[in-house]
Amino acid sequence: MVLSVDEIRQATKQITSSGDRKQYNKILRLVGQYEQISGLEETKFFEIESNLRFLTLSLKQIFTKFFKLGQLNPSLASNDNEKQLFLWCRKVYGSFKARLLEVISSTRFENSLALDCLDVYIQLLELESIYFASKPEAAFFPNKTLKALIAALFQSSIPQSIDAATGHSTDPVLQEFSDKYYQKFVDLQYYFQAELSNLIRDGTLDKLDHSQLLAKWLSLVNHDNHYSSAEAELDMYVPQPPQAMESETQFKANLEQNYLWFLGRDGLLNCQYKTLLLILHKRIIPHFATPTKLMDFLTDSYDVGNGVISILALNGLFELMRRYNLEYPNFYVKLYQLVTVDLMHVKYRSRFIRMTDLFLSSTHISAGLVASFIKRFARLTLDSPPSAIISVIPLVYNLIKRHPSCMVMLHDPDFMTHPFATPEELALLKQRKSDYKDPFDMNEPNPEHTRAIESSLWELASLTNHYHPNIATLAKIFSQPFKKPSYNLEDFLDWTYDSLLKAETTKKIKVLPALEFEEMGQLFGTYIEGVQW
């Protein structure tokens, strides 16, 4: 049976005010109260929650008093008897901490008790740093205590606590810890990362659910207020932190190590991949000493397969190649393989094309490779919606402009006659025409080997016959002189059926639409054949 608030208050008063050490035994009973909640159901739990919250605060008061009296530090004892008492108090204090962590780690649903426990525990950290120092005013940080808390935080698992959109954890205790403590205090960050790397080395976290782990990790580190960030505004939590935590390189090394460990887990969720890839440039790479270590993670995410993630992974790889000299030979092969039949019909198409434009902006890639991309995009336009075609045409134009040797795909002078051709030349041309066979291989995975440059862009030429007048006109740029330096791709990327239709239906009627002058007869039968009412 749970003690009532009054009983708790009375016991606390007796312990703190009287100074009678006989009353100390009541602490054991108070601490023992926590056992009552283990395995309790949600409704029953909330019945006793307020009592327990009060109990937690009371116990904190008691132990604060102990701290002040120095009764928790056996080395301060003046005689054996006292030492015995102090050791006992220390043991009780230890079990109190263990109870708090148990509440935190075993919680299955959102509750205020766990939050209270977290607050109290962290306040205890501060008290420990003051009173457990080897001598007064000495620098000390209770890293063992923190380590236990970290383990508890990661062990807690509230079901469905992963945000579906961003992959963050919605565990309130963890969020509280992150918002209120981790993101504000530099010493907590330093020792957190240090102890976390210890925990990882110990293998404590190995058995936990990977996606949950990463969700929590993301909630902790996905912000801009890191120890190592340039404009972070951070405070000290403990009054006298040790000298050791001034080493930023150590922090970075720990953070990097931890990051890599978390990223290396398999079974991550797609949304988590996406979030990670999106924050890669701003929030991950700056904290890494050697960003190229992210290569494995990026390759993994590329292999996950989902289109957006793959292209984002390639984007990350591209960044690494560009800025950190990463050697990644298969990059364009991988990019080429992402240009699939589905690409033109999915939502992330415009993002893909934007990035492809960026990747292919290098002038050091071979014309054959560019030709493969051009040809493949052109082939895909044969069954893609107008919006996709609108974005592909300027892309191809810009590519050809940048790599003029690809112009042969639009204009092959070998297959032209000129008025002064001799009969031999004409015969040769005829022979060449009859021998010609399109060498392009759509199924070849390597863009260097598709022989696209020997092919021609019939697909784009056919688009001049597109049913949408604007696309038909746009496709005509390939038969006009290439005078424009480049098209601004952004103007062409974000068209949809919606915006196309809106552009049409909001047009003013200047000239009345022309009418059909031929009689069509009956709707079904004469006009539309093969259909009846």
Binding site: P385, H411, Y467, L500, I509, L512, P513, E519
Partner: protein, 823 residues
């Protein structure tokens, strides 16, 4: 010259004998004489010496080029002198101008009272008025009186002239038949006179009589003569008039006598005459009235022969076809008025009675009505519904209103009701009917869609008939109410798009299919850009692209949509990638088993292969395939039979065939497009041995492939453009003196001219500026002089006054003193 400037001057003066000892002994007398005599000479010499010693009066042009020929004469200018000369010339001209001021030239304003400051505005007006009156109507003149035109002038007493010649048409009867009447023509007159006199002389020579040389009359003489003549005539006329008046007076005086005589005579016979002819007269009068009122006869149009009518129609058709082709090519004739367009279609519809089974109502020629002719059998039914027709007086403006009207009638009667409504709401019958009918076109379109989606089952055929006739009515209305119809079409398109976006294919119904088909029959679908068809195409594309053909209903819906789309493209043959996409997916969903035919297809993870396979290969034994019925779009899944699937399959295959022959075979990417179908078609061929179409299509593809050459493009075959070169041209025989090396002499000449013009212009501007400056200076001088004169005058006056005053004062003083002394 050595020495200082002063020394040199002295020396020069001495050399010229201007200074030094003047009274040399022995030559006193002669010297004096010569001095008197040589004053001018002396002045000249002095001037020369002065000029020599003033280095600033002479300006020697600096030789920039050569130093070797320093001894040569260099051009010397005397700016001071030339300035002086210019000044003097100006002075002269100025004085000349000043002298002639207010004495020569200028325009004189002779209008009455313009500058007369003594008259008030009112007086001026009055004066002008009286003058005008006098001119126009004074002395009872008529403007039509030709005789009287001698002294007429305009209201200000002056005639309009040009180069001194009168602009008025003057009659010149008095002056010979040639009408020569001015001094300017005097020479001619003289010549003529000479000629006649010569002739006369020749004649007279025989008669031995000395001819008088004809003296030319002066203008004054001529005028006098004319005036005299006209006065004479006037007098004559007045006399005649007086005579006439006298006669009339006499008659008047005698009139009473005649009347009394007349009254005394009895006249019974006359009234009888009137009575007898009364009826005939009446008839006659009526006839006359009738004839007056009768329309004047106009020549009738010649009756045209059959061939002529035919050729005319052919021409009209050709013109329309040409217009259509232009629109298809995207050549928009913006300037062509809407009215013209309407007219063309008017005639177009008139000329096409080709009896296609639809009762083809001709559109009335009149601009104001749309008549819906009523065939004989309808007339009977209409007569019984006359009462009902009365209720159609109000034109339904929303679809609900129309539904309320047609409520209770059979579907087959709807077209008749609609016709009645249109008849009752002819624009000529009431104001605002035009707008109402315009709105009604949209309502009618909605009604067609409503009928199509809400009726079905066994009465489908009747609904079809009804819809067909409604569509033909709509077609006729469209020609008159094009704009409101297009607007409502756009609304419907947006509505369809929204429904598809929110509920996918479930949001669409048969009505939407009917809408697309109807639009295709009404509007010209082949245009490059069309306000209604283009959005339709976009929406169709969207539906085809975003619908997964995984159920038979969806499949059939999209098949019909494809058919409509192909109909749109029957002339323009445009390419739709969405159609390719849909057809491929449709075929894949109908594949007999889920076997990926090639690696390309297997990469399409989003496509589900073989969800709707036709199970029984034997069902193709009966070769006939059924047309798709609209009813099947809404059947439930358990009613799906293999027959239906079979007809869907054959429809899809036929669509591929149709698209190949209509669109794809024209495209340069034909092999690329067709490559994705070949594999599937082969699968069908292998799976269903009785199913002929796939193998036929494959054969066709092979043939097409063989006949066309698939060679690399040569799109950039533009005329090469020269690279502009900017290296300087080397000129042989370069000569700095030569201004231009232009080969074209005409251009050279022109440039020369231009340069000259520029130079002259610059010079003239300079001169003008100098002139104005001079004028200004002169003005200031005159002003100064005037004011000096004035001040001098005033000073003099004051002086005299003060002297007089002083004299008077001293006089007074003296007097006073004297008087005082007297006392």
């Amino acid at each position: 010259m050595a020495g200082s400037q002063l020394k040199n001057l002295r020396k020069a003066l001495k050399d010229n004998g201007l200074t030094g000892q003047s009274n040399v002994k022995g030559s006193k007398k002669s010297k004096k004489q010569s001095r008197e005599y040589d004053r001018e000479e002396r002045a000249k010499t002095v001037a020369r010496i002065r000029e020599q010693f003033n280095p600033f009066d002479v300006k020697v042009n600096r030789d920039k080029r050569s130093t070797h020929n320093g001894g040569e004469q260099r051009p010397v200018g005397k700016p001071g002198i030339s300035k002086q000369i210019g000044e003097e010339q100006r002075q002269k001209a100025h004085e000349l101008r000043k002298g002639g001021k207010n004495k020569l030239g200028g325009v004189f304003d002779r209008r009455f009272g313009e500058k007369d400051k003594t008259m008030t505005a009112e007086e001026k007006m009055l004066e002008r008025f009286t003058r005008e009156r006098q001119n126009h109507s004074g002395a009872g003149r008529s403007i039509f009186n030709l005789e009287d035109g001698d002294d007429d002038g305009d209201m200000y007493g002056e005639k309009l002239t040009h180069f001194g010649k009168s602009l008025a048409l003057e009659d010149d009867f008095d002056r010979g038949d040639l009408g020569l009447h001015d001094e300017d023509d005097a020479a001619m007159l003289e010549k003529r006179a000479q000629r006649t006199s010569k002739r006369l002389m020749d004649e007279e020579l025989l008669g031995d009589e000395e001819p008088q040389p004809e003296r030319k009359k002066t203008k004054a003489e001529v005028m006098k003569e004319v005036i005299a003549k006209s006065k004479f005539y006037k007098q004559e006329r007045q006399k005649a008039q007086e005579q006439l008046e006298d006669q009339i007076d006499n008659l008047d005086n005698d009139f009473d006598d005649i009347l009394s005589q007349l009254h005394s005579v009895p006249e019974p016979a006359r009234s009888a005459v009137f009575d007898k002819n009364h009826d005939a007269d009446k008839e006659y009068d009526m006839k006359v009235k009738e004839l007056i009122l009768e329309r004047r006869a106009a020549p009738a149009d010649r009756t045209k022969t059959e061939e002529e009518i035919k050729s005319e129609q052919e021409q009209k058709r050709l013109a329309l076809e040409q217009d259509r082709l232009n629109r298809m090519a995207g050549m928009l004739e913006e300037d062509r008025g809407v009215e013209d367009l309407g007219d063309e279609f008017w005639r177009g519809s008139d000329s096409e009675h080709d009896g296609m089974g639809v009762d083809d109502e001709g559109i009335a020629d009149s601009d104001d009505d749309v008549s819906v002719s009523v065939s004989d059998d309808e007339r009977e039914s209409r007569s019984c519904k006359n009462k009902a027709a009365a209720q159609f007086r109000t034109c339904p403006s929303t679809h609900e209103e129309l539904l309320a009207v047609v409520n209770g009638y059979k579907v087959g009667d709807h077209s008749k009701i609609v016709k009645d409504i249109i008849k009752a709401c002819q624009p000529r019958l009431a104001e605002g009917n035009k707008q109402r009918l315009g709105k009604f076109t949209g309502v009618l379109l909605y009604h067609i869609m409503f009928l199509a989606s809400n009726y079905g089952g066994n009465e489908a055929g009747g609904v079809g008939e009804s819809i067909n006739s409604l569509v033909s009515i709509l077609r006729n209305l469209a020609q008159k109410y094009n704009e409101p119809l297009s607007l409502s079409c756009r609304d419907i398109i947006q509505d369809i798009h929204l429904r598809f976006k929110t509920q996918q294919l479930n949001g669409l119904s048969r009505g939407d299919l009917i809408f697309f088909a109807t639009v295709g029959t009404i509007f010209s679908a082949s245009d490059h850009y069309h306000l209604v068809i283009t959005p339709c195409n976009i929406v169709i594309g969207e539906i085809l692209e975003q619908t997964k053909p995984d159920t038979l209903q969806k499949l059939l819906f999209c098949i019909i949509l494809c058919k409509i789309f192909l109909k749109y493209q029957r002339l323009s043959k445009r390419f739709s990638p969405e159609l390719v996409f849909f057809l491929e997916r449709a075929i894949m969903s109908l594949l007999p088993s889920s076997q990926g035919t090639d690696t390309y297809a297997s990469s399409k993870s989003a496509l589900e292969v073989g969800v709707l396979p036709v199970l029984d290969p034997a069902s193709f034994a009966s070769a006939k395939s059924h047309p798709i019925s609209l009813n099947t779009l809404s059947i439930c899944n358990r009613d799906i039979t293999d027959d239906l699937k079979k007809s869907a399959l054959s429809a899809v295959i036929n669509l591929v065939d149709e698209t190949i022959s209509l669109v794809w075979k024209e495209l340069s990417a034909f092999p690329e497009i067709i490559s994705r179908f070949e594999g599937h078609l082969a699968t069908f061929r292998d799976s269903y041995e009785h199913f002929n179409s796939p193998s036929q299509i494959l054969q066709k593809i092979d043939k097409l492939k063989k006949n066309r050459e698939h060679i690399p493009l040569a799109l950039q075959n533009h005329r090469p453009v020269g690279i502009p070169s900017h290296t300087p041209k080397f000129e042989e025989n370069f000569n700095p003196e030569k201004r231009s090396y232009d080969v074209d002499s005409a251009r050279n000449e022109m440039n020369k001219m231009k340069a000259q013009l520029r130079k002259e212009r610059k010079f003239t501007m300079k001169e003008i500026r100098k002139d104005t400056k001079f004028e200004a200076r002169q003005q200031i001088d005159t002003k100064k002089r005037e004011s000096a004169e004035y001040h001098a005058k005033m000073a003099r006056i004051i002086n005299t006054i003060s002297t007089e005053e002083g004299a008077e004062k001293s006089k007074y003083e003296r007097e006073k003193k004297l008087r005082n002394a007297k006392k």
